[in-house]
Symmetry: C2
Subunit: 513 residues, 2 copies
Amino acid sequence: MTVSVSLPQGVEEPEGLVDAVLAYETALMSDDVAALDAAFAPGASTLRGDATGLLVGHDAIAAFRRGRGGAPQRQLLALHVRPVDADNALVVAEVAARRGGRGLQTQLWRRDAELGWVVSAAHVSAPAPAVDARIWRTVGTPLVAPHGDGVLDGVGIAVKDLFELKGFALGVGNPTFLATSKPAKRTAPALEALLKAGAHVTGIAQTDEFAYSIAGANAHYGTPPNAAVPGALPGGSSSGPASAVANGQADLGLGTDTAGSIRVPASYQGLWGLRPTHDAVSLDGVWPLAPTFDTVGWLTRDPATLHNAVEATLGATEQRLAPEFVVAPSLRRDLDAEVLEAFDASVARFSPAEVDIPEPDELLTIFRTIQPAEAWKSDGEWVAANPGTLGPGVRERFEIAQGMSSTSEAAAREAMAVARERLDSILGDRILLLPSASSAAPSALASAEELEAVRGATLRLCSVAGVAGRPALSVPVLSATGPAGRPAPLGLCLVGPRGSDLALVELAADLFS
Amino acid sequence: MTVSVSLPQGVEEPEGLVDAVLAYETALMSDDVAALDAAFAPGASTLRGDATGLLVGHDAIAAFRRGRGGAPQRQLLALHVRPVDADNALVVAEVAARRGGRGLQTQLWRRDAELGWVVSAAHVSAPAPAVDARIWRTVGTPLVAPHGDGVLDGVGIAVKDLFELKGFALGVGNPTFLATSKPAKRTAPALEALLKAGAHVTGIAQTDEFAYSIAGANAHYGTPPNAAVPGALPGGSSSGPASAVANGQADLGLGTDTAGSIRVPASYQGLWGLRPTHDAVSLDGVWPLAPTFDTVGWLTRDPATLHNAVEATLGATEQRLAPEFVVAPSLRRDLDAEVLEAFDASVARFSPAEVDIPEPDELLTIFRTIQPAEAWKSDGEWVAANPGTLGPGVRERFEIAQGMSSTSEAAAREAMAVARERLDSILGDRILLLPSASSAAPSALASAEELEAVRGATLRLCSVAGVAGRPALSVPVLSATGPAGRPAPLGLCLVGPRGSDLALVELAADLFS
C-alpha cells in the first residue's frame, strides 16, 4: 500500500501519527472491532459522523461498529496531515473504494499520554450507490413525466410499490412477487390525479412486504434509513416513500394506510401524513391488504404540498372545520409519561374537552380480527403458493391470518358497526387529538419482542380512526426520546369527521405552520 | 435560527467561536463569496472536501466557490464544539437541508492573531439526491434482471441512452427526443448478449446529445462528474456509463465509439475501454451517428470484467496476439512533452518498432468529412424539425454537418479505402501504441476554444483506428497533469489487427495487471 503523505511546508510529521493512521486503516479493513474501539478516544464527547448522521460518544460509536458488519473495502490514496499542536493533528485521507469511486475521511487525532494517538472526531464520506435500494426500487429523472399542469407542478412523487404504474411491474415489497409480475396496463387513478395536477413520478419506493407491517423493515431490500433519527426504524409500511420524502429525494410520498402505514412513518420521521376518510379515494389499481380499512394516503415535508395533493385528488372544498378538540383519557393507558407530557403540553392551548371512548382494547380487537381475515383473502393464495418467500414478522402475521375463523370475523364485523356508531355519537364533528404512535421511532436494532410491544401499543392508537373510518392527520410537532437518548420526532394525530379531509389539513396548516 | 451548542463537560466555549461559525453560515446562505473566502485561512494548506473530492489550498477553494453559484439552503440544528487548545477548535455541525434530509459539516477553526477565527479545514456531507441526473436517466435495483447465468453474473450495466431496451423509451441525450419516444419493443442484441451471460441492467445512463461529442457535457442534464479528477470533464460521448463505472455505481458501461466515445472517457477516468473491430458487434437497436465508424464498446474498472463482456458478446477465442508493438512518430506532433514522456516511459519495455504513418492529418480529414455527412443522414431530419433543442457545441457540429457536400464525401470515401489499405500494409498484425487522448481530462470550466483544441488533437489520434476499422483498447496506465495541477489518469491505447478484439484484451490483461 503506497500512500502519499503531505504536510504544510516546513512542518514536521508528528512522531507516530502516520503509523497510527495506517494501523487504524488495517484494523478497519479487517473489521477488527476491538482495535477500532481502542483507536477512538474514550468518553462521551468523541464524535463519528457520515452522510446518515452523527454518533456522539465512544459507546454509540462502538455499538454502530458492532452492528455494521465491516466497512466497505478501500485503499488510502493520500493523507493530508495538518498538525494543530504537538499533541493534536487533523488528518484528511483521500481513499479509493474497492468497488469504484472516491471517498474522504477527516479525523482529529490526539496524543494521549497513556493510550498514544487516538481519534477524537471523525467524518467519513463514501461514494454513493446509483440508488439507495433500501428506499427505492426504480428511479428516473423523472421516471414518469407530468400528465398536466397544476398545483403540483415540480413535485416529485415517491410511489409505494403497491400502486399500478403503466409500463412497470408491481412488486409489493417481495422479489418473488415482482419476478412474475407483468408491466401494468394502466396507472392507478389515485396516482393519475397527482400526475394530471403537474406532479411527476420520481420513482417506485419500497414497502414492507404486502404492506403488512408498521415497522418499516424489509428482509429482502433492507430497512430504509430514518432521515430524522440515525439508526432508527423508518416506520412502515409506507417506509420507502417516507424515507424518500424525509431525505429530500422526493417531495410527495404516495402510500397506503390500513393500520397506520402513513401515520406511523410520518410520526417517526417528522413528516406531515394524511390517512383520508375510508372510501374517499379510489383504491383501483392499488394492491389490497384489508379493504375494510385500506386507504390511499400522502406524506410530505410541509402542509402546503399535502394540501395540494389532497386537493388534486379530492377537489377543492368550501368546508371549514371548527377548531373543537377532544382528548380521550382511555387512550393514555400504556403510553410513556414522556409521551403524555409532550402531548399534553402541545394540546393544552386548544383546551380540548375530555370524552369517554370506552374499551379502546375492543377497537383493537375488532381491527386485529378483521384485518388478518381480509389480508388472507387478499394474499393467502399467493403466500400459500410461495412458501419460504416472506421475511420474519410478516410470515408470522400471515400464519395468524390463515387461522382466523369466519365466526370471529363475522362477530368482529357486527361489533365494528356498533363501535363506529358509538364513536360517531361521542365525537360528532369534533376533532380527536392523540399521539400518532406510542413512541418515537425504535432503534433498527430493537428485538422482535420490543417491536411487538411497540406495534401493539401503536395499533391500539391507530385503530380508533381505522374503525371509525375517519381521516387522521399526523402533524410533526411532538418530540420524544429516540434511540441513544437523543430527541426524535413524534406526530400529533388529528382525527376529524368523515369527509373533512382537506378541511382538516387546512385547519392544521393554520394552527401548526 | 435556534441552534443547540454542546461542549464536553466542564469545557468553556472559546470566545467568539460560535459567533464566527454563525457568521460563516450567514455568508454561506447568501453566497457572500468574499466573506466566505475571508473565513477560510489563506495559504496552500487549507483543505475543503466533500463526496466529490478534496480541494487543497485557499485558491482552489475560492475558485470552486465562484463556480458553484451558491450552496443549497440549509439550517443549522446542532453545533458540537470540541476545543483543541486555546486557539484551535473542531466544530461539527448537524444541518437540515431546506429540501429535506440531513447534512454534516466538520470544520477545524483556528484563532489567527490578525484575522480572528478562520477555517483551516472543512469536510461537508450533503444529503444525496435519489439519483445523480447527470449520470443517469433511469435506475433500478436492478432495472432489468439477468436473462441467464454466465460469466457476467452479478455485473451491473450502465447502458448508454442510445441502446433500445424493451419497455423503455430512447432518449439519445435530448429531452425533446425522449418526450416523443415510444417504449422500445425489443432490446438491442449487443445488450441482450450481456443479459444472457448473467449481467443485469442497473440503469440507462446519460450520453452527449446524439453521441456527437467527445467532451462529456450535456446542456440539458448537466455534466457527469469525473470520478477520478474532481472538477474535470468526464469524457464522452459515453459519459454517463463511464462516470457510473468509475464511481462504482455500475460495473460495466455499454456505450458506443464513433470518434473516441469509449476511448476518451476511459482515458479521462482511469477505466479500461474497448472500441472493437468495426462491424464485429451488431448495431441493431443502437441509434446511429456515422455507421462507417460506429461501434459498440465497453467500459470497466478491471480487465477481467472487460474480458467477460467481450467474450459474452463475441464468443471465446483461441487466438493469441504476439506482443509485437509499433509506435508512429508522426502521431507525436502537437502532443505535450509531459504526455510524450509518460507515453515513452510506459512503452519502453516493449521496445516498439517505429513505423511511418504518413499524413495523419489526412486520416483526420477523411474522418471529419464522412462522419458529419453521415451524422446529418442519421439525425438531420430530426434536428431540422426541432430547432432550438440542441445544446452548444453539438448544435454547431450539426450545422457543419448540414453543409457537407456529397462531392467531398465521395472523395473522402475513396481516400479512406486507400488509407485503410496503406495502414494495413504498415501495421500488419502488429499493435500500434499511442495515447488514448491528447491530454488528461480538461477542466469542466475550460473555454469553448480550449475544448475545441483538445477535441482536434484527440480526434487526430482516434481517427487512426476509426479509418482502419481496427480495435482500440484504452488501458489506464498513464498519468498527466489535470486541472489544478494535480495528477490525472490518461489511457495507453493499443490498436490491434481487425478481429483480434478478445485477444487484444487478453494480451493487455497479461501485460498490465
